[in-house]
């Protein structure tokens, strides 16, 4: 593809992801490549408030002459998403009948997706499966780029894997892609990046060869390494609950005021009560700050979400 072949067409590429994934890197490579081919390129991005884990998006538009730097809704020829929920969030930008959808199936769950702060509470994350989405768009690729990158030994090159996939959707020379990529990535990581790029291309080739139904036989990598860690902690603390020795409580109100979840309350007898057990996270602050030793945060045999009330009396410590 070059300037002479397609004089009046403009290609819109929208790259989305979360902070730290390399969204800007991908868009930089693409923009540089387009410049090399003599296109007018405009790239605009929002990354300022993203920090690690926040939303980052980058619009890349190239063609004969570009005026607007942003892609309007329903106008993106290619939507490249580095994270699954972001892919869904920006899906309406894709051109309805001709757009190409490329997404990583990796889930990065933001902290606020866990509305219930109880340990082990279910996270609210997009329920749509990659198969559903891919079947709805004109041309869809959903791959476990992070899994591929992890196999290569560096999960951070997942963006390059997706770049490889993107390269099949745009009609630039493979060699040009590689040159531009090698030019922009840190010198030490050129080999890994080129390998990851090739993996991304290979993945598309494979999908094109195999019949449509067998796409995505691989299970999406649902749990990122740091999330696994969180899960382990959940398992430990899930079933902790404050048990109150009413005879010892003097109603000083410290636990009620200090509880971060506000799940304790003084009753009419000026004795503390656990009013909202489902909100308790087992943080032990009430236990530590009770001057009367009236609160013990103990383990209950069954997790809270499964009828905790039944098992509570059994775990009561000996009282006087």
């Amino acid at each position: 593809m070059n300037k002479q072949e397609k004089p009046n067409s403009i290609t819109n590429v929208l790259i989305v992801g979360v902070g730290g994934q390399g969204v800007i890197m991908v868009s930089k490579v693409l923009a540089r490549l387009c410049q090399r081919h003599g296109f007018d390129v405009k790239q605009s991005e929002v990354h300022g408030m993203a920090k690690r884990g926040g939303v980052v998006f980058s619009h890349v538009r190239f063609g004969e002459k570009i005026w607007s730097p942003t892609v309007s809704e329903g106008n993106a020829d290619v939507l490249l998403a580095l994270e699954w929920a972001e892919a869904l969030r920006w899906l309406h930008y894709l051109k309805p009948k001709t757009g190409t959808f490329i997404a990583d199936t990796q889930h990065i769950v933001p902290p606020f997706a866990c509305l219930k702060r109880h340990r082990g509470a279910e996270q609210r994350y997009a329920q749509e499966t990659p198969e559903e989405i891919v079947s709805q768009v004109a041309k869809g690729y959903a791959l476990d780029a992070t899994g591929i990158a992890t196999e290569l030994g560096n999960f951070r090159v997942s963006n390059t894997v997706l770049l490889g996939t993107l390269s099949t959707a745009l009609a630039f020379d493979e060699a040009d892609w590689r040159d531009t990529l090698a030019e922009l990535v840190p010198p030490k990581t050129i080999d890994t990046n080129l390998e990851a790029f090739q993996k991304g291309r290979d993945w598309v080739e494979e999908v094109k060869k195999t019949p449509k139904k067998e796409k995505n036989t691989k299970k999406p990598n649902k749990i990122a390494p740091y999330q696994q860690q969180v899960k382990i902690q959940n398992d430990i603390q899930q079933d902790l609950i404050p048990v109150i020795t009413a005879a010892w409580c003097k109603g000083c109100d410290i636990c009620v005021k200090m509880c971060p979840e506000r799940c304790l309350k003084l009753n009419t007898k000026e004795v503390v009560e656990l009013v909202e057990p489902e909100r308790c996270t087992g943080c032990r602050i009430c236990e530590w700050l009770c001057p009367d030793f009236a609160i013990d945060v103990v383990k209950v045999p069954t997790p809270l979400n499964e009828e905790a009330s039944k098992s509570k009396p059994a775990s009561l410590p000996e009282t006087v």
């Binding site: 005879a247 000083c252 001057p291 009367d292 383990k299 006087v320």
Partner: protein, 295 residues
């Protein structure tokens, strides 16, 4: 080792608490549960300090048979009676004197003194400076609630200026003792201070103090809600312990930028730590040389 380095390191570590320790520590193993509920007023910080001490003892895995709690008179003196160990309720101001004799005679025991601000600084002020000077292996936990609570709210040596008590009906005009600086100047090997609100950190401070071989002095800022707080309109116990926390700065922060905006804040954490020889060991070595000479 550089002392400042040591302090900052400890200051940063002290807020950590291991999940296992929090889970396995059952305070009822260390309490005389038949005496409960205890006599302290609702919201008295002494209970929180007692939990911190017992947790520190649990973490150090000290045998209860080798543990002696010596306490004086006052609200703080009574808290010792709730500990299921060898407890020793002594005369007013003299727990350190009793503990000195005990620690010298029985070096195999772990001696911990629980004392109050009046007990330790007014009536027993003399004993504090000499215990600090000798550097005998005793841990002294001073519960500072700024008032003589048990006897009806008289002004103590730590009652802040302008505060109302029964003996200072128009506001106290006496300058206060900084107990930590007093102990440090008198030569205590380990000096620390913390508020009850910083519970796991207070526990770690007490643990370090008990581990220290020599005289370790820990001032715990406690709250007297019923008498001192009510008389001075300081709010309920939650407000009191929160305001205590805001009046303190961890020593590891050093001279931070906001110091001009927070004048007169006290430092918390480990304030002094040195490697002076422990008196008990020196005493015994000395006795041995005399005995050897006599033969």
């Amino acid at each position: 080792m550089n002392e400042t380095e040591d302090i900052s390191k400890n200051g940063e570590d002290t807020h950590l608490v291991s999940e296992k320790s929090a889970r396995d520590f059952n305070i009822r193993d260390y309490l005389r549960t038949s005496l409960f509920p205890h006599f302290l007023c609702p919201g008295c910080g002494h209970g929180i300090a007692l939990r911190a001490l017992l947790w520190a003892i649990y973490e150090l895995d000290i045998d209860k048979n080798n543990l002696v709690i010596v306490s004086g008179i006052g609200c703080s003196g009574r808290t010792g009676a709730y500990i299921d160990a060898n407890t020793f309720h002594t005369t007013h101001g003299r727990p350190l004197a009793f503990a000195t004799g005990l620690a010298l005679a029985r070096p195999d025991l772990k001696v911990i003194v629980i004392t109050g601000d009046g007990d330790c600084l007014a009536i027993g002020g003399n004993h504090l400076i000499h215990a600090s000077r000798r550097n005998l292996d005793i841990t002294c936990m001073m519960l500072n609630n700024e008032v003589y609570g048990m006897t009806g709210g008289q002004a103590s040596p730590t009652t802040s200026e302008t505060r109302y008590t029964t003996t200072s009906p128009s506001g106290s005009i006496e300058p206060v003792f900084d107990a930590c600086r007093l102990a440090e100047a008198a030569g205590a090997g380990f000096v620390g201070r913390d508020v009850t609100l910083q519970m796991p950190r207070l526990k770690n401070l007490l643990r370090d103090a008990i581990q220290y071989r020599g005289f370790s002095f820990v001032e715990v800022i406690s709250d007297c809600t019923e008498i001192f707080g009510r008389k001075n309109d300081l709010g309920e116990s939650p407000e009191m312990i929160l305001s205590q926390k805001s009046a303190m700065r961890p020593s590891s922060y050093g001279n931070v930028v906001d110091e001009p905006f927070r004048p007169n804040t006290l430092k918390t954490g480990i304030l002094a730590r040195n490697d002076r020889p422990e008196y008990g060991a020196t005493y015994r070595a000395h006795a041995e040389t005399i005995q050897a000479k006599g033969k």
